[in-house]
């Protein structure tokens, strides 16, 4: 039985529905991310779990207890906010101790727990400082310690890394995940950053228009997107419209020429489908390479240096543009813009979207 169950959640602000028929089941100790663009309803779902918003309909259960109408302060949840939300009038230790004091834990036990939490987030030396004396990353660590100190049943993270700079963001997401694993707290994480969601989560919920478009493990979502929106939202993508020519052999007519996908297609002859090709699935052929089954000819329009990756834009002979990602390895020969290129890809890496 799942630990956190959201069933048929709906929420509207005025006449505007923001969450529609949202279902989710989370196991104890699981880390699930709600991922989606601004306005997709992910924060509203989190706020309903926290008790800051009341669902229009549907139910929320934590550990078998129906908390749908329970006040936020009675839900035993821990929460981290984008703006840290540390109490400015309290020291670091005071902030971490707040939830423990509220729950009436004995002073000695509370002090021990505060020390333990601050050591866990590496801020034991800063216990007497005030929030304004800390950096953004340190403040968010204090917020994490404060949220987990009372041992909540569920940890809710509302874009806690968005206000931090890139390097600290990467470090802190690793720390949050390690602490979450160590304590085994069921965690619901809201983010619009797909890299964060993919790197931290056991499962990702991709949301769009108030609905869960797809729920699955990060690799499943990336490699097998259930819809065009998920495919486009997660990572870069080439979308190629196609007509089914032979469903049995998987031959399709596309703007890149005829392609054989080596699999039986569910659609009949003449049906319109969309092929999704990840930029990293495409490979630039060297002149000496033998000609494989799929070859796409074109001319390199531009190349973009992205650090570990070099992104190429290739204008194909059929008049469409495809994006290709090459690893930036020393000695790799990257063609010059304007030169003729031949691309290939394994047929099994082509995803068929309905």
């Amino acid at each position: 039985m799942s630990f956190l169950t959201l069933r048929g959640l709906n929420k509207s602000f005025g006449a505007n529905p923001v969450v529609r028929d949202f279902d989710l089941e989370m196991d104890e100790g699981e880390f699930v991310s709600l991922l989606g663009p601004s306005g997709c309803g992910k924060t509203t779902v989190l706020r309903m779990v926290a008790g800051f918003e009341t669902p229009g309909s549907g139910s929320i259960q934590i550990g078998g207890q129906d908390v749908t109408t329970l006040a936020a302060r009675q839900r035993k949840i821990g929460m981290m906010f984008q703006s840290y939300a540390l109490f400015p009038n309290m020291t670091v230790a005071g902030n971490v101790a707040f939830g423990l004091k509220v729950s009436g834990i004995a002073r000695a036990e509370a002090d021990r727990r505060v020390r333990e939490m601050l050591e866990m987030v590496g801020l034991a030396k800063f216990s007497d400082r005030y929030p304004y004396q800390l950096s953004g990353g340190q403040q968010q660590r204090v917020a994490l310690a404060r949220a987990i100190a009372p041992r909540p049943r569920v940890l809710l993270l509302d874009e806690p890394l968005s206000a931090l700079d890139a390097k600290i963001r990467v470090t802190l997401r690793g720390e949050i995940r390690a602490i979450q694993r160590e304590l085994g707290i069921s965690t619901l994480f809201v983010t619009h950053d797909q890299e964060e969601a993919m790197s931290m989560s056991d499962r990702v919920v991709v949301m769009y228009g108030g609905r869960a478009e797809q729920i699955g493990a990060p690799d499943q979502i990336y490699n097998h997107p259930a819809s065009r929106f998920v495919a486009e939202f997660i990572g870069a993508l080439n979308l190629v419209p196609a007509h089914v020519k032979d469903a049995k052999t998987g031959t399709v007519d596309t703007a890149l020429g005829a392609l054989t996908l080596n699999r039986t297609l569910p659609d009949s002859h003449g049906s319109e489908i969309t092929l999704a090709i990840r930029p990293e699935a495409l490979r630039v052929l060297a002149p000496s390479d033998p000609t494989p089954a799929i070859v796409i000819s074109g001319r390199l329009a531009s190349r973009e240096f992205l650090g570990a990756i070099i992104r190429l834009r290739v204008d194909t002979a059929q008049g469409t543009t495809v994006v290709v990602d090459c690893f930036n390895r020393e000695g790799a020969t990257i063609p010059q813009p304007g030169s003729a290129v031949r691309l290939t890809l394994p047929p099994e890496e082509i995803v068929i979207l309905a």
Binding site: A72, R73, S83, A85, P88, N89, M90, V102, Y132
Partner: protein, 268 residues
């Protein structure tokens, strides 16, 4: 950027307009003893029992008005900002009414409502009349207290702080007293000092309720004496400046900072 000559002249003219009467009043207050300058007028004021009683009475009434005002305004402003933001203009307008309606109207209203022939004859007892005076002071201080507290709340993200505290299990009362009040302390102190200044010099309500407050005492003294009113005016100005300096100090104080350094006894 260099200040222009015109600006300097305007500032100098304004300073003279303000300072010359003050210097003149100060000089006059020192001339009680003939032929020499002295602080006799100040000594005379402080030796008067009536002065001390009036000042003491006004200080206590102001302090109670400040506490009642803060307890009334802070939860109201907090709730309006948190849950009823659409009602903020209405509450703001109500808080400004004491600036539009003269205090004479307020006190006449009080006397009519709570006079000897009313259903609740508060004016017939000392306690009741004192209560009416404090209520009057609270009403007079509303525009200043509400503005100060509301700006203080605008400076902190009360909605997120409230949610953070709620997620940790805190009740609304606990949030109000352990998070909201301490974080708008500077704003409350500013409002308190303004309330204090207004209550100390208030005449109409105290006089018509026949209270032995500082305002009526000042007016009475001005009619009876020559030098003491000047000395009192100078002392009032000094008190106002001290309060303004304290307001500034509190406004710029960060959590954990002390207004004065802690004095520790050195070990031998």
């Amino acid at each position: 950027m260099k200040p222009r000559l015109g600006s300097i002249l305007i500032v100098c003219a304004a300073a003279l307009y303000f300072l010359v009467p003050l210097i003149a009043a100060f000089q006059f207050s020192l001339q009680m003893r003939r032929g020499t300058w002295s602080f006799d007028a100040y000594a005379s004021v402080f030796q008067s029992d009536v002065f001390l009683n009036a000042l003491g009475y006004s200080l206590i009434a102001s302090a109670i008005a400040i506490v009642v005002g803060a307890l009334l305004v802070v939860p109201t402003a907090y709730w309006v900002r948190l849950r009823l933001p659409h009602l903020r203009p209405v509450v703001e307008f109500i808080s400004l009414l004491p600036l539009i309606i003269p205090s004479v109207v307020l006190v006449f209203g009080q006397i009519r409502m709570f006079g000897s022939s009313s259903f609740l004859p508060l004016t017939t007892t000392d306690f009741g009349t004192n209560l009416l005076l404090v209520v009057g002071y609270v009403v007079l201080s509303l525009p200043y207290m509400f503005r100060a507290v509301d700006s203080g709340m605008a400076a902190i993200d009360i909605a997120t702080l409230t949610e953070a505290a709620e997620s940790l299990g805190a009740s609304r009362a606990r949030i109000l007293f352990t998070i909201i009040f301490p974080n708008i302390r500077a704003a409350i102190v500013s409002g308190a000092f303004l309330t204090f200044s207004i209550c100390l010099g208030e005449f109409a309500i105290a006089s018509l309720l026949n209270r032995n407050a500082f305002g009526p005492y000042l007016v009475q003294l001005g009619q009876d004496r020559a030098y003491e009113p000047a000395a009192l005016a100078i002392m009032s100005f000094a008190l106002t400046w001290v309060l303004m300096a304290l307001m500034q100090a509190f406004a710029h104080m960060k959590p954990g900072q002390r207004l004065l350094p802690r004095f520790t006894r050195s070990r031998p």
